[in-house]
């Protein structure tokens, strides 16, 4: 019996989603009793899935992401990342990539990528080895000694992705990472991200305003309502992988995009 119990427990762990959110609500304290930002959010993100969250501005998407990253604590409900709560940032479990690349202007590209490792006191040679591997992964070989002001917007965001991946966290949270880029760079970056994702097998939670980007990238799309943010739709994107730019012109792509758009319009 003991043996059987162990097997069941093991199976439960294998099947356990990478992220589980249960009954999460959040109220920002204020003079007039506070603002309800998130309302009763329950969701699960399977291991290795690419989940995109869309929703109107100010619906609390970023707040939710901050909580998944351990940067903020919800007023109510529980979050479990890889089977454990996340009371504070844990960069070895969760990597975060923000809208602004936010590279440190006083560090070179390689030093920026190594920053998370140097915080943990990883030895210099090991840091260099890993940051150079990340640099190759994001396609920036030869730019390691450059400083952020010498890089374009797209390149900066690549560095920021490399920095997010350097500790090899199984979970990657991305808050509108390509929103500040021009349309063409944005599409290229999305494509690059899918390539990186397919080679690294990460679980990704990705926030965006762009419906095209959402459908192009996602396995699943979660649609959130206006404040207080709730999950109002959960859409499976069944388009085959690898995705290509040509798919955007297909009817299936258009229908998915249209369904999300209808939901967001209702939500706003």
């Amino acid at each position: 019996m003991q043996h059987l119990a162990n097997v069941t427990e093991l199976r439960a762990r294998v099947d356990e989603p990478a992220i589980k959110v249960d009954g999460l609500s959040h109220v920002y304290a204020g003079a007039d009793g506070g603002v309800a930002a998130l309302l009763d959010i329950t969701l699960a993100v399977g291991k290795g899935r690419f989940v995109v969250i869309v929703g109107p501005s100010g619906c609390g998407k970023t707040s939710l992401l901050m909580m998944l990253a351990g940067l903020r604590q919800p007023s109510q409900g529980t979050i479990s990342c890889l089977g454990r709560p996340i009371p504070k940032p844990d960069p070895q479990r969760v990597g975060v990539i923000f809208q602004e690349a936010s590279l440190f202007p006083w560090l070179s590209t390689l030093d920026n990528i190594e920053f998370p490792l140097s915080l943990r006191g990883v030895a210099r040679a090991e840091r260099r080895r890993r940051s150079e591997a990340m640099l190759r992964l994001v396609g920036l070989e030869g730019f390691g000694e450059r400083y952020p002001h010498e890089l374009s917007g797209g390149m900066k965001q690549r560095v920021s992705i490399a920095r997010g991946l350097v500790q090899d966290p199984p979970l990657l949270l991305m808050d509108e990472p390509f929103a500040a880029l021009d349309e063409q760079t944005r599409m290229t970056m999305g494509h690059e991200l899918l390539r990186i994702w397919s080679t690294t097998q990460k679980t990704v939670v990705f926030i965006t305003h762009s419906l095209t980007e959402a459908v192009y990238l996602a396995d699943e799309v979660l649609v959130m309502s206006a404040r207080p943010g709730r999950i109002i739709d959960h859409i499976q994107v069944t388009l085959p992988r690898p995705r290509s730019y040509e798919m955007m012109a297909t009817e299936a792509f258009g229908q998915l995009r249209e369904r999300i758009w209808q939901q967001i319009r209702k939500a706003a």
Partner: protein
């Protein structure tokens, strides 16, 4: 214009000014008693630098400047950073500080003389007082230059409070702090000079004031040359450091 041409033009201007300084008094265009020729001033300068009394005055002034600087910079910077970082203190003190900052500090000099006398302490206290304000105001601005998104990134990668201080705050603020150092030294030097010229028994400022009162123009100009050289050398030294940090200034 090429770099070489610009430098040549600057040198030509310098030669022109120095040449005029030498020739105009000699030709009687300006009164040589009010503006002695450059060569005469330089001879006087060499003579003065060899005198024990002048050497002592220079040493006293240098010590006053250094001590005031050492007191004012850390105190002002610490106060500025604490005020800028603490929302409550910032709310209380910022307007007050801005009001006080606008007052010319020299009007407080008589009070410093009453409290500290006319010796070393008075010079140091007055200079530190004027400098401390400048440092405090700049340190406040330096803290505000730290980008919140940089702090958020560091936090998301698990940085501790002290790691955030040393790896985000300090490098973000460094260019501003160097600028502050440079400007505060100008104020510091000015503070010591004013205090020495106002009431003192020694120091280079005291000598300059005396030479002026006694109509010893070659000595007065020699003093001006020495002080200008010291001030410019310090200023340019810090500026060179600043230039090295300029890669991340943006």
């Amino acid at each position: 214009m090429t770099r070489a041409q610009i430098i040549a033009t600057r040198l030509a201007l310098l030669v022109l000014v120095l040449g005029a300084w030498e020739l105009l008094p000699r030709l009687g265009v300006v009164n040589a008693l009010l503006l002695p020729p450059l060569s005469q001033v330089l001879v006087t300068l060499a003579d003065l630098l060899g005198r024990a009394s002048v050497q002592e005055a220079v040493a006293v002034t240098a010590l006053e400047v250094i001590v005031a600087f050492i007191i004012a910079v850390p105190l002002g910077a610490a106060a500025g950073i604490v005020i800028a970082e603490n929302a409550y203190l910032s709310e209380i003190f910022k307007p007050v500080l801005f009001y006080v900052f606008s007052i010319p500090k020299s009007i407080f000099l008589p009070m410093f003389i009453l409290v500290f006398g006319i010796g070393f302490q008075q010079k140091v206290a007055y200079a530190a007082f004027t400098t401390g304000f400048v440092v405090l105001m700049s340190a406040t601005a330096a803290v505000e230059s730290v980008r919140p998104d940089h702090i958020l990134v560091a936090r998301s990668y698990g940085a501790t409070q002290s790691q955030i201080l040393w790896r985000v705050y300090v490098p973000s603020m460094l260019p501003f702090l160097l600028e502050t150092l440079r400007i505060s030294m100008i104020f510091n030097f000015t503070g010591v000079m004013i205090a020495e010229m106002y009431a003192s028994r020694t120091g280079i400022g005291h000598l300059i004031a005396n030479w002026g009162e006694n109509f010893q123009m070659p000595q007065l100009f020699a003093g001006v040359i020495v002080l200008s050289a010291v001030a410019i050398i310090f200023n340019e030294g810090v500026r060179a450091l600043e230039a090295r940090c300029s890669t991340w200034r943006t």
